[in-house]
Every structure is written in structure tokens, then in C-alpha cells.
């Protein structure tokens, strides 16, 4: 029996899939519908002080890449624009009806102890399972000294986390902004402030494009645009890196992580979990297709776990993080070369032009008899992967390991030995 349940920083949910704090969790009605579909948890659309914010019309924008709609998404929507009392009452109602699901109250108030104490006290009465401090929102609220304006200053992160911990009776997650030079510093500050976990990434500062007819930036509010927060499938690699950084940085190692950023499928979620996330949060994919995607997220994760022989999520969380290392620890003596399977090759010659124009000039075509199928000049191949990446056919170009007969040698070891035998090492790897 596959058990999908997770415990992220003490917040338990029947599966690791939570709705991120965003429009899908704007109301009790939505969150309950999501739970009925099978979502494991929901981080409520961020609560703030009354009076509620006023939003603009025209709030979302997207880019389509290669015909894929909403490959990247952005928004300039602020925190909830509903009265605090309404939200608190609905959280209470939802929690009563769905006691086993995780309901997390996302909060954002000015950086004053009293303000944080007050809202946390009120949140405690809802019976929520955890709170998430929104230090990530990069637009609008940040201009008012909240959201990413906090997340970008580790001292504030620490301070406000302390405020929250002084009153919260439930686990506190700190939601981090990626709009920083090094995500490890705010993460360390969160831990120092007593955070039970971090959630990341929030959205990235973005302008989605410029309308080439009107010459105004796209998705404008009456012709003017403020930068928004970027998310969706396109940001996943950035998020994965930041999750892995926190999972591997000694001061934050072991700090529970709720992974966010471009997750659309069960496989995306597994990747976040393998790099250290205990739960994952989704928004763009849900905004694209609706709550129903949870059915396949749960089924896909369960099938994968079964295939891999895992019965609990804790058995694989973080398993890939150990393989994220600094460049200096990579083996300079590891060698792969490309190989093209002519039985699969369709002769589009994309690998050929890519390699010759932009990589390392080691693919050739013997054009006799009208042949279009390229071949790899193995002696020159540096194993860069580009050909395999551009090839449209599955498993047509494979990167095969070549035994070099040399012991592993990292840059760290190599320079520690005074770059001994430089010419030989260079020659071995670069002909």
C-alpha cells in the first residue's frame, strides 16, 4: 500500500500536494472543492490587515512558448481583497469539515511586533494547521514595506519570524522570495528566527512583454504596467536550484521545505521532493486546468513510488540532494560521447547544424548518395549533450560513457596538487 501522506515541518496532509497561496485559495468554497477533488492541503490566499487591499483589473499575463500556452505566467494581484473576518471564518469552517487536510494561513502585515501578534492570535482561533509568512510577494505589497521587501533583508526575515514564533501555536513556514542574490541568506535568517520550515520560491520580478502595435508593455492597466511576479513551468529550474541550495547548505540542512515553482505534473513534484521538499505547492497549473489535475498528480506519484519500491514519501525525499555538489567536485576524467542511432534518425540535421555552428564541430554528414544522416566524430566529441538535446526523436542520440582508464580527478584535487601534469590532463580530455 502506497502512503502518500506527508509531514512538512509538523503540518500533516494526506498527500504532498498543496495549493499555493494564490487565487485558487481565495475562498472557503474553492478550498473545499479542491479538497473534495483530492488536494492534500491549501495555503490560504494571504490575509492582511483591514481594510482589504484594492486590486487593479487586468492582473495576469502569460507567455506561450513553442505553442504551449502559459509556459510562463505572471500576476500583479495583491493579497486577499476580502475582509479579514470573512477569511478567518471560512478557514474555521473548512478546517471543521476537513480536519485531516492541511490548511495553512498565509499572513502579511507591516513589520511591527504588535501587528504580527494580533493577526497570528486571530489566525490561531481558526484551527489552521500552520501559518506561512509571506515574505515573497514581489509586487505592490513590497512597495508598502511588506512581501519581498522583507524577504530581501535577512535581518527583517529573522525579526519577523521571531515575532511570529512568539505567538504561533502551530508550525511557522517562511515563504521566501527568489528576488535575491543568494537564497541561502534569507533561508538561514528564517531558521535563526525559529522558522519550522521554508516555502519557496515565490514569484520572480517580471515584465511579460511589449505589445508591438501599441508599444506599451503587455498586460497593461490602461497602458501602464507595473512589474509582476513570474511563475509557471518556465521557472521550475530556478526553483529546483534554490530548493537544493537550502537542502544542502549546512546552516539550513534538514530545515523542512515546501517546494514551489512551475510544478505541473507528478514528475515535477517528485523532482522537488528528491531535492529536499517535503510538500509541494502548485498554482499556475491549477489556474490553467482546474482542481481536477490533482487526480493525476496523486495517481502518478503513487504509480511512480510503487514502481520504485517506495511505500512512504519520506523514503525518497532529499535523495537527489546529496548529488548536488559544487563544480569543483565534478570528475574531470568523466567522459561521454554522443552516438546517433541511424535506425531512428529522421535526417532533420538539427544536431549537425547545432554542433557545427554553436558547439564543438564534431558531427559530420557523409552526403554521398543523398545521405542525410549525420555521424559523430567521436575523437572530437566533448560530450556536451547539445545534439541529444536538439534531436526531436526519443533515444535517437544517446550520450555514452567512455572508459578513460584514469582515476576520478576533481578540480579541487587537481589544483590542490598544484595542477600536476596539466598538459596530460588537458590532452586526455581535449585531444
Amino acid at each position: 500500500m502506497i502512503d502518500l501522506s506527508t509531514d512538512c515541518a509538523g503540518i500533516k496532509s494526506p498527500n504532498p500536494f498543496w495549493l499555493a497561496s494564490a487565487p485558487p485559495t481565495n475562498s472557503g468554497e474553492q478550498v473545499m472543492r479542491a479538497f473534495e477533488y483530492g488536494w492534500g492541503g491549501a495555503v490560504w490566499k494571504t490575509l492582511g490587515q483591514d481594510p482589504p487591499v484594492i486590486n487593479t483589473t487586468s492582473r495576469y499575463g502569460a507567455i506561450d512558448i513553442g505553442g504551449q500556452k502559459m509556459a510562463g505566467f505572471n500576476n500583479i494581484e495583491l493579497i486577499t481583497d476580502r475582509p479579514l473576518e470573512d477569511n478567518l471564518r471560512e478557514i474555521y469552517e473548512v478546517k471543521k469539515r476537513f480536519p485531516k487536510h492541511a490548511v495553512i494561513a498565509s499572513l502579511m502585515v507591516p513589520c511591527e511586533r504588535s501587528a504580527w501578534h494580533e493577526i497570528i492570535d486571530r489566525a490561531m482561533d481558526t484551527g489552521c494547521d500552520g501559518i506561512e509568512l509571506n515574505f515573497g510577494c514581489p509586487h505592490g505589497m513590497s512597495e508598502r514595506g511588506m512581501g519581498s521587501a522583507v524577504g530581501q533583508v535577512p535581518d527583517y526575515v529573522r525579526m519577523v519570524t521571531e515575532f511570529a514564533k512568539e505567538r504561533s501555536k502551530v508550525p511557522v513556514l517562511v515563504k521566501l522570495t527568489p528576488n535575491v542574490a543568494d537564497i541561502r541568506f534569507p533561508a538561514r535568517a528564517a531558521r535563526e528566527g525559529g522558522a519550522d520550515g521554508v516555502s519557496l520560491i515565490n514569484t520572480i520580478n517580471s515584465i511579460m512583454g511589449v505589445d508591438l502595435n501599441t508599444l506599451a508593455p503587455k498586460f497593461s492597466v490602461g497602458g501602464k504596467v507595473a512589474h509582476g511576479g513570474y511563475c509557471g513551468p518556465a521557472v521550475k529550474p530556478i526553483a529546483l536550484n534554490m530548493v537544493s541550495q537550502i537542502a544542502t547548505d549546512p546552516p539550513t540542512r534538514g530545515l523542512p521545505i515546501s517546494g514551489i515553482g512551475g510544478i505541473s505534473t507528478w514528475a515535477d513534484a517528485v523532482e522537488f521532493m528528491l531535492l529536499g521538499a517535503t510538500s509541494v505547492q502548485l498554482c499556475t497549473a491549477v489556474m490553467h486546468y482546474g482542481f481536477r489535475i490533482i487526480e493525476e498528480l496523486n495517481a502518478g506519484l503513487s504509480d511512480w513510488m510503487e514502481g520504485k519500491g517506495f511505500s512512504k514519501t519520506s523514503e525518497f525525499i532529499g535523495r537527489a540532494a546529496v548529488n548536488v555538489v559544487d563544480w569543483k567536485k565534478l570528475n574531470l576524467h568523466h567522459k561521454t560521447v554522443a552516438s546517433i542511432d541511424h535506425s531512428k534518425c529522421i535526417g532533420c540535421d538539427l544536431c549537425y547544424v547545432a554542433c557545427n555552428d554553436t558547439a564543438h564541430q564534431c558531427i559530420a554528414i557523409d552526403r554521398r548518395k543523398g545521405n542525410r544522416k549525420p555521424h559523430v566524430i567521436e575523437a572530437d566529441c566533448v560530450g556536451c549533450n547539445l545534439c541529444a538535446l536538439v534531436c526531436p526523436v526519443d533515444a535517437c542520440i544517446t550520450m555514452n560513457n567512455v572508459k578513460t582508464g584514469h582515476k576520478p580527478l576533481s578540480w579541487e584535487e587537481y589544483t590542490a596538487s598544484g595542477m600536476k601534469g596539466h598538459k596530460e590532463v588537458y590532452k586526455r580530455m581535449h585531444g
Binding site: 513553442g66 505553442g67 534518425c345 529522421i346 535526417g347 532533420c348 540535421d349 538539427l350 549537425y352 547544424v353 557545427n356 555552428d357 552526403r367 542525410r372 526531436p392 526523436v393
Partner: protein
């Protein structure tokens, strides 16, 4: 047009390959792999940079896409419908190697050129006047293409067309369900707007002497196509109800069905693409029974496989290995006498006592066209043994240094796209002849820049 005829055209002559919606075009364009040195380009007689024009569609530059197409193929708008892409660009698509549906190149091309057409955009400008005069005989695909490039290079061009409408077989010979006549005409209107003078209803050699063109022009391009249908050489060929396929199709194209009369059973003689067009259109104008009769077997037919399929879908019947002995009837066709044939010692022979009469009231001959001889004779041009005008393969120059030729008149009857390619090639050759020092226009040869160095694709074979 009476309401019954209007109904026929509305219901039976719908385009078999309808336009893509912008969304469909976008999705289809994104399927294109943007192959390097793409085989679809090599397969196109006019060498349209297909991956590029598709990329332009996927990047929302639809008009730029149309320009890429029309730069290489002056008749790109028509060719998007008239081309047998199954055996040209789409047939060469690498998706076939994948056992996948090829890119819908024709429909994407149509999407681009139709957008240009609907916006009334003229993508090219005439070149600065250089004073040279070129006569173009025949305003069919070859002549129209030639005129396009010559005007863009600044030549004064006069086209002599014996018909009252330009376009030749592009206007009168493409099955109406593939391309409506107005498509050909709207494209030609855009072409002639570049400033070529079009003399309609003027037949060179009859209305004006051919020799006058040699003295009055600096160069002459011949794009006269082919002449009437071959004769069957059997009794009854002159009976009312016997049609040659091109005249028959022309009436259908003109949407003027009255002169054709009614037919319950039509026999189409021949098995080329024209025979298919005649058969399917016979069916579509309401003929109950249409029988295609061919003297050889199915394997020998010259029609493309996908054309045969179309005729089968339309309910056309086929008689293989039968020869016409007599067309029966007193004043009008009442039947046709057919005789079985077989191959004996490599020769086609009649099977003795195999004749039978097939009652029918219309016979359409689609057994190939004869050549025009009088014009070549008047100009003293050398001909190939089968009557085609002989030309140098690269320049399309005839045995007369001032005279160039292209299209069906030199290839014996190919596609619109081949004629368009010839027109372009000849225009560039005329330019090089008249202004040897002028800068060469781009694209007169199909150059691709490969990593090994520039190379030219092989010329189309000219059997």
C-alpha cells in the same frame, strides 16, 4: 447561373482542402522541426525556403512568410492549392521517416499568401526602368512568373495571351474543388499590378507575326504550354458529346454547364491526372455513372495515387486494359465500343474478339496534349524529337539566342510549380544576357549555405 447550378457548385465543389484557422496554423507551424538543409526545399521546384516561412508563421510574421514564399515562387498563392505536394515538399518531409504525418506545408503556405491577398498587399516593387523590352508569349504560369521577376528587375514587359483571361491552365485547368478560378485571377492581378502590359485575346503568329517580336523586343519568353488534346483516331470522334478533357474542365471552371448538356453515363478515356480531374468533376456536376477507360493496367497509369483515391471516393468506375475501337452514335454519342488489351512480347495488343459496347452519352478524351508547332517554326527554334522546344537546361535559352522558353512547352506537361520555376529561371537568364554586368538577383539558383561551403541543389531533371 441558375439555382440548380449554384447548388451544384455550393455542395459538390467545396474545397477538398479547406483553409486553416489561425490557431490551426500556429499549432501546425510549431510542429515543423526547422530542418537544416531541409529536404522539403530540395523537393520544391521553385526552392521556397519552407522552414523559414513556417518559422515566420509561428513567430506571427504572416506577411513576411508570404513574402518568403512569393520571393521564390511568383505563383505561390496558387501553388499552395494546385501543387501535388504529396510528391513534392510534403512527400519529402522528414516526418515520414518517423511514420508520422508530414507538416501540412501547402495549407500553411495558403494561410500565409491568403492573408497577404486578403489584406491587398503588394509585396514587391517594380525595379527602376532599364529601358529593355521583353515579350512574353502566353500569360500562363510560366509567363506570369517570368513577367514578375522581369518587372522587379526593371524590364518593360508585354504579355501576349490568346485567351480573354490570363493564367492558362492555372485559370482553366485546375479542378475547381482544388482551386477556384478566382484564386488564380487574384494572384495574377497582383502580379500584373507590377506594371507588365497584358494584351489579352492576341495570338502571336495569328494576330501579330512572331517575327515582329524578335525585332520589337530585346528578348522573348515563350510560355505557350501545349495545344489541343491528341486524337483517338477512331470512328465517331466528331460526334456531338465527345469532348476533350481541357475544354470540358474549362466549362466546369467557368461555371457554365449549359453547353455540356446532361449526361447519364460518361466515359473518360485515359488515366492521367487530367483524366481524374475530368472524371471527378463529371461526377460532381451530376453525372450518374462515370467510367474511366485506360488501355493499360493500373500500374501504368500516370495519375498520382492520391488522385486515383479521390476518383474512387467519388464513385468513379475503372476499366483497365481496354482500348476505344469506335465511338457509337449517329449524330450524338450513344455508346462506345471497347476492346480488351494485353501486353504481348512487350507490346500492347488487342485481344481478338473481346470487343463489347458500353452505352454512354458522353466521351471525354484525356489522352495528353499535342504541341504547338507553328510558333517554333516561325521563330526557327530547334525542337526535341517529341516536339518540345529545346532549351539549355540552366538558362532555358532556345536555339535562338534572344528567345527563352519554359513550362509545358519545354517539359511536355508538368505542374504549375514547374512552370513557375522555369519562368523565374528564364527571367534571370534574360537579365544576365541583357545586362551581363548587373548584379545577379538572389535566388536565381538555389544556393544553400552549408557548413562545408555553399552548394547548389541539383537542377530538376528535364527528361
Amino acid at each position: 447561373m441558375d439555382s440548380a447550378t449554384a447548388k451544384i457548385y455550393r455542395e459538390n465543389f467545396k474545397e477538398i482542402s479547406p483553409a486553416l484557422t489561425p490557431e490551426e496554423a500556429r499549432i501546425e507551424a510549431h510542429r515543423c522541426l526547422y530542418c537544416y538543409d531541409a529536404p522539403c526545399v530540395t523537393a520544391c521546384p521553385t526552392k521556397i525556403d519552407i522552414p523559414r516561412f513556417i518559422k515566420q508563421i509561428s513567430s506571427s510574421n504572416i506577411l513576411g512568410s508570404a513574402k518568403t514564399i512569393l520571393e521564390a515562387n511568383a505563383l505561390g498563392h496558387s501553388c499552395a492549392r494546385a501543387c501535388p505536394v504529396e510528391v513534392l515538399c510534403e512527400g519529402a518531409c522528414v516526418y515520414h521517416q518517423w511514420q508520422e504525418r508530414p507538416i501540412d506545408i501547402a495549407k500553411l503556405q495558403r494561410h500565409a499568401t491568403q492573408t497577404l491577398q486578403d489584406n491587398g498587399i503588394q509585396p514587391f516593387k517594380p525595379g527602376p526602368d532599364n529601358g529593355f523590352k521583353v515579350a512574353v508569349i502566353g500569360a500562363g504560369p510560366a509567363g506570369a512568373a517570368c513577367a514578375t521577376y522581369l518587372r522587379r528587375l526593371g524590364y518593360r514587359v508585354t504579355l501576349f495571351e490568346k485567351n480573354k483571361l490570363p493564367g492558362g491552365l492555372n485559370t482553366f485547368g485546375i479542378a475547381e474543388y482544388k482551386m477556384q478560378q478566382k484564386v488564380s485571377l487574384e494572384e495574377l492581378e497582383r502580379i500584373f499590378a507590377l506594371g507588365a502590359e497584358l494584351k489579352l485575346g492576341v495570338e502571336v503568329g495569328k494576330d501579330i507575326p512572331a517575327e515582329d517580336l524578335l525585332s520589337g523586343f530585346d528578348a522573348v519568353f515563350i510560355g505557350i504550354g501545349l495545344a489541343g488534346t491528341h486524337k483517338l483516331g477512331v470512328p465517331g470522334e466528331d460526334l456531338a458529346g465527345v469532348w476533350d478533357a481541357l475544354s470540358f474542365i474549362r466549362h466546369v471552371k467557368d461555371r457554365n454547364l449549359k453547353p455540356l448538356g446532361r449526361s447519364r453515363t460518361t466515359v473518360v478515356v485515359g488515366a492521367g491526372n487530367t483524366a481524374i480531374d475530368a472524371s471527378t468533376q463529371s461526377k460532381r456536376i451530376g453525372t450518374e455513372r462515370v467510367v474511366m477507360a485506360y488501355r493499360r493496367g493500373r500500374a501504368d497509369m500516370s495519375a498520382y495515387g492520391f488522385e486515383l483515391e479521390l476518383a474512387q471516393t467519388d464513385g468513379v468506375e475503372f476499366l483497365w486494359n481496354v482500348k476505344v475501337a469506335t465511338i457509337l452514335g449517329t449524330r450524338k454519342v450513344e455508346g462506345i465500343r471497347l476492346v480488351g488489351t494485353k501486353i504481348s512480347q512487350g507490346k500492347l495488343v488487342e485481344i481478338p474478339r473481346s470487343g463489347w459496347n458500353l452505352p454512354c452519352d458522353r466521351v471525354i478524351k484525356a489522352i495528353g496534349q499535342t504541341k504547338h508547332y507553328s510558333l517554333s517554326k516561325a521563330l526557327g527554334l530547334k525542337l526535341a524529337s517529341d516536339g518540345r522546344i529545346q532549351v539549355a537546361p540552366k538558362t532555358l535559352q532556345t536555339s535562338h539566342p534572344k528567345v527563352f522558353a519554359g513550362g509545358d512547352a519545354i517539359n511536355g506537361g508538368k505542374e504549375v510549380v514547374h512552370a513557375a520555376a522555369d519562368g523565374k529561371r528564364a527571367a534571370h537568364a534574360i537579365h544576365r544576357r541583357l545586362q551581363p554586368d548587373a548584379e545577379l538577383p538572389p535566388g536565381d539558383e538555389y544556393w544553400v549555405s552549408t557548413i562545408e561551403g555553399r552548394r547548389v541543389a541539383p537542377l530538376q531533371d528535364r527528361a
